[in-house]
Amino acid sequence: MSFTAGALFSRPTISLPASFPQFFFAQLKYSGGDWDPNPQFVEAITEELELRTSIDGMQERRVITPTDGDLFFCPFLFMAGKYEFDPWTPQEREILRRFLTHGGFLFAEDTVGAKGYGFDLAFRREMKQVLPGHDMKKLPTDHSVYQSFYLIGSIGGRQRVNPYLEGITVDEWTPVIYSQNDLTGAWSKDKSGKWAHECTPGGELQRSAAFKMGLNIIVYSLTSDYKKDVIHHPFIKRRQSL
């Protein structure tokens, strides 16, 4: 049961009970702004996921809203945008709060990278409402997301806005990871199979780093802080010192 990229432009109709692959992208749709700036990011990153990891990812993207009952069965919730979007309703905020504090995961991207404007402004505003008391912070360099598959030195992305990821950490789990480097823009291909965007200023190295970062985020979403287990420490330290 797979969806083609073309199917992404209209919301797929899924009859209940829905079937959920172990890994797929679920993209959060919201009103106002532009909820889908990179509609064709799935294929390339899923291919890389298949080629490089043991994860059986489906080349599938499902579009979902916070009130959709399937939200809680989505392993990887993705949200992107360029512009400011409408505030979520109290019900939507409550559902997202429950989702994120009970194992759910959200990767969000400001594909424009304008700090304090547009999507960035709206997203930070909404997160303060969804997870009050938990601030969005720069993820430290030893965070599991930088070590979950590759040992990440550079974030990559279509643009180089931040040399770091941000996130909201609750206990030892970071349910919200936020990027302004447009990773999905770097993963996107057009209909002819060519890269949809150039990566600036780093070119293909920057794109490669974006894929690595993407794979790490996906692996982190499925393994949590596994790499913080004591058995990994000496290996990771040794490799970082090479």
Binding site: S19, Q22, S54, F73, H102, G103, F149, K212, F235
Partner: protein, 730 residues
């Protein structure tokens, strides 16, 4: 009778008596004057004197004259005979006179000249048995007296006898409680029994052992051995678990004898549960007492943490949520490995950019496997990584008491030949030849009949929700998007099965060897977490379900349907032991109204009397029994859902009895130590006489109450009446 024996105790005041006498005297004088004219002076005087005599007597009665007689009495001294009846007095003596107590009985009541008879002739004899308490004995009870029980409290006994007896005679071998403080002021003569110089015995004097041990951690038991007449002897001290030897150490008893030596025995328990251990020393030739060469003790072995090794074939939601549940439990120590890439995946970066670590299969599955309690394979195609000897190692791990869980997923599709491997041997399921994994056809689950009562799937009311049955609880769980099409083995128990179509088993358990195994035929159980969260019911059910799977697999006692709590210190023979029986909530609800039976079997396997009654707490019962001998007692509790057995070690006084005659203690207790019959009599006489007492008895006899006094009064009056009549006055 002489006059100084006569005393007067006036019944009226003396002045009143004198007034009465004066009135009588006056009346007599008036009478004299009246009759003198008729009869003449001499006759009138005679009659007046007779009247005066009668009045004088009558007035004298008011003085209450009494005759006082004194009689002196002598009281026989009370002699208390204290016969030590503690266990050590049952020890036989080398002189062939039977036990020390028998020797005492013979001395007191047998032979041509029994001491008791001799003493009774002169003294008031009181017999006492000195056991755990002081007991008054009759002469008839002496012959049936038995030596049993703990050491007697001699100081308490003497305190009790002080003031009641003149002297106490103690017949003892010296094994009494004595604290070297001054004795109460009562002379104590001691007749020592037993022969310290000829006594030979080896005993376990003391054992210092923990009552609780941790699996995999060394337990040290200190044993103190004492020897009498065993100077320099070398002998082994054995530690056994049932009949199996755990460890042994040789010791050399000190020179000179008697002396003590302490040895430390250590071992590392590998299995949790109640262990019935014993420490013993082989009986040596000529030993007086063999029973004190053996001590039973119980050790409860628990695990400090449940150590789990989890290997996941791929990063997945199943791994993450199960990891969350396991990490959530502070009693779980989780080591997990996730296969992030397979050998066919491309790794297009240099080593310094990889976070992958080697999968140490040899270390984990050949060397360290026994350090884990539970092994979980989660959607793991183990044939790519594990060699046959690793699989055999896993099988032996489970056979020896370990536990194994296999969580399904598409990676197991390649395990079609699993049935021919050691893993296939231990699993509760078979893999059918046809389709092995089905994805995309969501399937609801239902709980089986067995699952309705099994601790894994019958969660508590707090978890499922008040009034929710396991059937409705599991029916409402989100459907599974992928299931492994297992077939259960005949020895397996299916707890959950798919509710759609062919009822494929989803959750299956079974025992294997000493261990337990579980198969979960889906990689979508994480939906049971998120699905309930989506409905606003929280994640407790999933966390508890994982917790119960782990605890059932690892035989954690907390999941036993019946919890039995023994007293902190195991009981002693002869003492009542109270046992607390708690039915788990689910067991309690299943057992509603049904009787619970409690049976106790002694070390010979015979059922003994026991009682059980409900306590005030729900599901709790209080049971009790009184063991009469030492050893391991088996306790059986039967409820409507089955029977449960536990065992308890009952220790005895004899286990650590030091029966060596302790004449040094007797010297400290005694005012004088005597041993011969004659010597004893003389000493008792001397001490008893010092306490001899006498008393005088006074008797007062009223004189006026005698007939003579009445005759005298009547004599005066009749004589007067006679002469009055003769002389014509009447």
């Amino acid at each position: 009778m002489n006059l100084n024996q006569v005393t007067v105790v006036p019944v009226f005041p003396l002045w009143l008596i004198l007034v009465l006498f004066a009135l009588g005297l006056g009346a007599t004088f008036v009478q004299y004057r009246l009759i003198r004219a008729k009869l003449g002076s001499s006759r009138a005087l005679g009659l007046s004197l007779l009247r005066l005599g009668a009045i004088t007597f009558l007035v004298a009665f008011a003085l209450n004259p009494s005759l006082l007689t004194t009689k002196e009495h002598k009281v026989s001294p009370v002699v208390g005979l204290l016969i030590d009846t503690s266990e050590s007095m049952a020890q036989p003596e080398a002189n062939g006179k039977g036990s020390r107590l028998d020797e005492t009985k013979a001395l007191l009541a047998k032979g041509p000249n029994p001491l008791l008879t001799s003493l009774r002739e002169k003294f008031d004899i009181k017999l006492y048995g000195l056991g755990e308490s002081l007991k008054i004995l009759s002469t008839d009870e002496l012959s049936g007296l038995k030596a049993e029980g703990a050491k007697g409290d001699i100081k308490g006994a003497l305190r009790e006898l002080s003031g009641k007896t003149s002297v106490a005679i103690l017949f003892s071998d010296g094994n009494v409680k004595w604290d070297d403080t001054p004795t109460p002021g009562l002379p104590v003569l001691v007749v020592p029994l037993g022969n310290p110089t000829e006594y030979k015995d080896i005993l376990i004097k003391a054992v210092r052992a923990p009552s609780l041990g941790f699996r995999g951690r060394e337990v040290v038991i200190d044993v103190t051995v004492r020897g009498y007449g065993t100077s320099g002897l070398m002998l082994p001290v054995l530690l056994k678990d049932g009949t199996k030897l755990v460890t042994a150490k040789n010791i050399r008893l000190p020179i000179p004898s008697p002396g003590e030596t302490t040895v430390s025995l250590s071992f590392t328990p590998e299995e949790i549960g109640q262990k019935n251990l014993s420490i013993s020393i082989p009986e040596q030739f000529g030993e007086s007492l063999a029973s004190n060469n053996h001590v039973n003790l119980s050790l409860k072995v628990v695990r400090d943490k449940i150590r789990i090794l989890m290997v996941s074939g791929t990063p997945s939601m199943n791994y993450r949520f199960m990891r969350t549940a396991l990490k959530n439990d502070p009693s779980v120590d989780l080591l997990s490995f996730v296969i992030l890439r397979t050998p066919t995946d491309i790794l297009n970066v240099p080593t310094q950019e990889q976070s992958l670590i080697p999968f140490p299969v040899e270390t984990l599955f050949a060397k360290e496997i026994r350090n884990f309690d539970l092994l979980i394979f989660d959607n793991f195609n183990y044939s790519l990584y594990l060699s046959p000897h690793h699989l055999e190692s896993i099988r032996e791990f489970v056979r020896g008491g370990g536990s194994f869980a296999m969580i399904g997923g598409p990676e197991l599709v390649n395990e079609g030949r699993v049935g021919f491997t050691p893993i296939g041997e231990i699993l509760p399921v078979r893999f059918p030849d046809r389709e092995k994994y089905r994805r995309g056809s969501p399937s609801a689950v239902r709980v089986s009949r067995s699952g309705n009562t099994h601790p894994i799937t019958r969660l508590t009311a707090e978890t499922m929700g008040e009034g929710i049955t396991p059937t409705s609880f599991w029916r409402e769980m989100p459907s599974l998007d992928g299931v492994n099409l297992f077939e259960p083995k005949s020895s397996a128990t299916v707890l959950l099965e798919s509710a759609d179509g062919s009822a494929w088993p989803i959750l299956i358990v079974s025992p294997f060897g000493k261990g337990r195994v579980l198969a979960l035929g889906t990689d979508y159980s994480w939906k049971w977490y998120t699905g309930r969260v989506a409905k606003g019911r929280g994640n407790l059910a999933y966390l508890r379900w994982v917790d119960r799977m782990v605890r059932w697999l690892t035989k954690d006692p907390s999941l036993d349907p019946v919890q039995v709590t023994f007293p902190e210190n195991s009981g002693f023979a002869g003492q009542e032991i109270e046992v607390r029986v708690q039915l788990q909530e689910e067991e309690s609800s299943l057992n509603l109204g049904a009787p619970i039976t409690f049976s106790v079997f002694n070390p010979d396997g015979l059922k003994i009397d026991s009682k059980i009654r409900p306590s005030v707490l729900p599901g709790e019962y209080l049971a009790s029994f009184a063991p009469q001998k030492t050893g391991i007692y088996k306790i059986r509790i039967e409820t409507s859902s089955g029977q449960f057995e536990e065992s308890i070690v009952v220790a005895g006084v004899l286990d650590t009895l030091d029966a060596a005659p302790d004449h040094e203690s007797l010297k400290a207790i005694a005012t004088k130590v005597v041993s011969t019959h004659e010597g004893l009599l003389n000493e008792i006489e001397a001490y008893a006489r010092k306490g001899e007492t006498r008393f005088s008895e006074e008797k007062r006899s009223p004189l006026w109450a005698t007939p003579y006094a009445m005759v005298a009064v009547l004599g005066f009056l009749v004589t007067e009446w006679y002469y009055r009549r003769r002389w014509g006055l009447i």
